[in-house]
């Protein structure tokens, strides 16, 4: 009998607010704000100008967007003109080189991804911290353990919720937000004398952006597995303040290392595998620097080491869960 689907469902039921409502609300808010900005810009306080560049200036400076009363055009003219900033920006965009279009749209789409991925990180960490702790605290562990589900299966379901279920849901919201953004910008641009495909659709690089983000989420999960396993273990082990132990022990280790040795290997390993260093790469279509600056075999080896560390901690978490009792 495969219990995994129902165990994952159980996690989703319990954490519906952070796994579903939170990304939904954040996505909606972001899209809503961007729509309001797009519409609002047509009527208020913003002007665009194409400034002259220095002789050796880069291409982008030709198309700098200036917002506010310092605009080079006459301020009074704003109140009477209905020439919408959006339409001017669009016209500028449509005439700009393709790389400029890519760069401009990247800021828009990448910031949407960044917000969701940033939230995802905290959702995962706080989910993991509570995953094997909260039911001991509220004593419901006595109910869960009274059912024929092994401790290994239980821990595995928590792990998979953190590294598969939550990232997949957030990824779906990233994709949906991007599509919404594309559609909204298209609607705002309707009627303008521009090539919609060439100005708004093609330079967004959505497909490759999604592939990179998905690939990078996978990389992130593997790269950070020592941290994931560590938090799971502390969640299963701590008798109180799991967050304190999660942070405190590595911090203490780092301090001891710096006091008693000349090495920073332990601290480096811990800080590197907490966050992916190159967060930017996750949200755009760049390769992370770790791929560019080091040999592939090097990176893969370190991923392997990270996964082994992670698995050791998960094993310890399962063992600990076997002895776990109400608090």
């Amino acid at each position: 009998m495969n219990q995994l689907p129902i165990l994952l469902k159980r996690e989703f039921w319990e954490h519906r607010v952070v796994f579903l409502y939170l990304p939904a609300v954040i996505s909606t808010l972001m899209i809503g704000i961007l729509i309001l900005m797009g519409v609002g810009l047509r009527f208020d306080l913003a002007e665009v100008s194409v400034s002259e560049s220095n002789s050796d200036g880069s291409a982008e400076e030709h198309y700098r967007l200036e917002v506010g009363p310092n605009s080079s055009e006459d301020i009074n003219s704003q109140q009477t003109t209905l020439a919408p900033l959006v339409s001017r920006q669009l016209r500028i965009m449509s005439n700009a080189p393709f790389s400029y279009k890519e760069r401009t749209l990247d800021e828009l789409y990448a910031s949407v991804s960044a917000v969701l991925l940033f939230v995802l990180f905290f959702v995962i960490v706080f989910y993991l911290i509570g995953s094997l702790y909260e039911d001991r605290k509220d004593r419901s562990i006595l109910f869960w353990k009274s059912l024929p589900v092994s401790d290994g299966m239980t821990v595995l379901s928590k792990l998979l919720t953190a590294i598969v279920l939550a990232p997949v849901i957030f990824f779906v919201f990233i994709v949906l937000s991007h599509i919404a953004l594309l559609l909204v910008s298209t609607v705002l641009a309707l009627g303008e004398p521009i090539d919609l495909w060439d100005t708004l659709w093609a330079p967004a690089n959505l497909i490759s952006r999604w592939l990179y983000t998905a690939g990078f989420l996978l990389f992130w999960v593997l790269w950070c597995s020592p941290f994931t396993g560590w938090v799971l273990f502390i969640s299963a082990w701590a008798k109180s303040v799991p967050l304190g132990w999660v942070v405190g022990i590595p911090l203490l280790l780092g301090i001891l290392e710096s006091v008693f040795t000349n090495s920073t290997a332990v601290s480096d390993f811990m800080t590197t595998h907490l966050f992916v260093e190159d967060f930017r790469a996750m949200i755009s279509s760049h390769l992370p620097t770790v791929w560019n600056t080091r040999a592939l075999s090097d990176v893969l080896l370190e991923v392997l080491v990270a996964v082994v560390f992670g698995m050791v901690f998960v094993g310890l978490a399962i063992r600990q869960r076997g002895h776990a009792d109400e608090l």
Binding site: I6, W13, D138, L142, F143, K145, S146, P148
Partner: protein
């Protein structure tokens, strides 16, 4: 007391929390089809004993539940054993329909139809969350879920603590009338002896981590006698070594253990002691 008919055998089970000895060499058997009362004051080791049987806590010594050591096979034991702890261990966030879906998916011996049928006789609606239910309803829910599982052993740890008398009575009535079938064994711990006295087939007293009485209810009436001693017989009665003696309505009431009935008859009026009186006598004596 053959090994074959025993569903649980406990032999020399001990456990300490630091300096505190929670269990001190506990040994007993549970027969198939028995309804065992595990009676003891607070902190006597009732919960620890029951949790050890379910693989929910570590211990030293030998313990065997249907051929399985709970330390190694909690998951296998839980296929055949159900557990209700005191009120409030159902997760508060879960909906009734969700908890039914969950047990249905993980427990091979659970009947969804039976659970829904049992719930339909209560005020509990499947769309409600546990935290929206009263204490008594949560216990009703848990009992309904457990009764829908075809188990060999039901372990109840103070299942009615904190409930009002109506729910307490209903709980045990349902347990006995709708569930008990002489094949399932039940072990129930409580310190409210009077409530379950009439359902039990076997009695275990536990005090400070030791079993101080282990007897079937039938044997109990053979071994223990309560005598309302006639005033002129008090000296004689004391010589027979009662395990307890107290004044009731101006008469001396004594409880004797393993004393020949022929010797007791002349002393006064003979009764079978209530479990509560026996409990007080056995526990005070230590």
């Amino acid at each position: 007391m053959s090994e074959l008919s025993s569903i649980v055998t406990v032999d020399g089970m001990s456990k300490s929390f630091g300096d505190f000895v929670a269990l001190d060499g506990v040994s007993f058997n549970i027969e198939r089809g028995a309804i065992v009362g595990l009676i003891g004051p607070n902190g006597a080791g009732k919960t620890t004993t029951l949790k050890a049987m379910l693989g929910l806590t570590d211990f030293d010594g030998d313990l065997n539940v249907m051929g399985i050591d709970p330390r190694e096979g909690r998951q296998r034991i839980m296929q055949n054993v159900c557990f209700i702890s005191d009120v409030g261990v159902l997760p508060r966030w879960i909906k009734v329909s969700q908890v039914i879906d969950y047990i249905d998916a993980v427990h091979p011996r659970f009947s969804r139809e039976r659970a829904l049928e049992l719930l339909s006789s209560t005020d509990i609606r499947v769309g409600k969350k546990v935290k929206q239910l009263s204490k008594g309803m949560v216990t009703q829910l848990h009992l309904s879920l457990v009764m829908a599982i075809d188990a060999d052993l039901l372990v109840l740890d103070e299942p009615t603590i904190g409930l009002d008398i109506l729910y307490r009575k209903e709980f045990y009535d349902r347990l006995l009338n709708d569930y008990f079938n002489h094949e399932t064994s039940i072990i129930v711990s409580t310190h409210q002896v009077e409530e379950i006295e009439n359902l039990l087939s076997h009695l275990l007293f536990i005090d400070r981590g030791r079993i101080v009485l282990d007897s079937s209810m039938d044997d109990l009436s053979e071994q223990y006698r309560q005598v309302l001693v006639n005033p002129d017989q008090i000296e004689r009665a004391r010589e027979l070594g009662p395990i307890s003696s107290r004044e009731v309505l101006g008469k001396e009431s004594m409880i004797f253990e393993h004393v020949d009935i022929e010797l007791l008859n002349p002393l006064g009026e003979l009764h079978v002691p209530s479990v509560a009186d026996l409990f007080v006598a056995k526990i005070q004596r230590r």
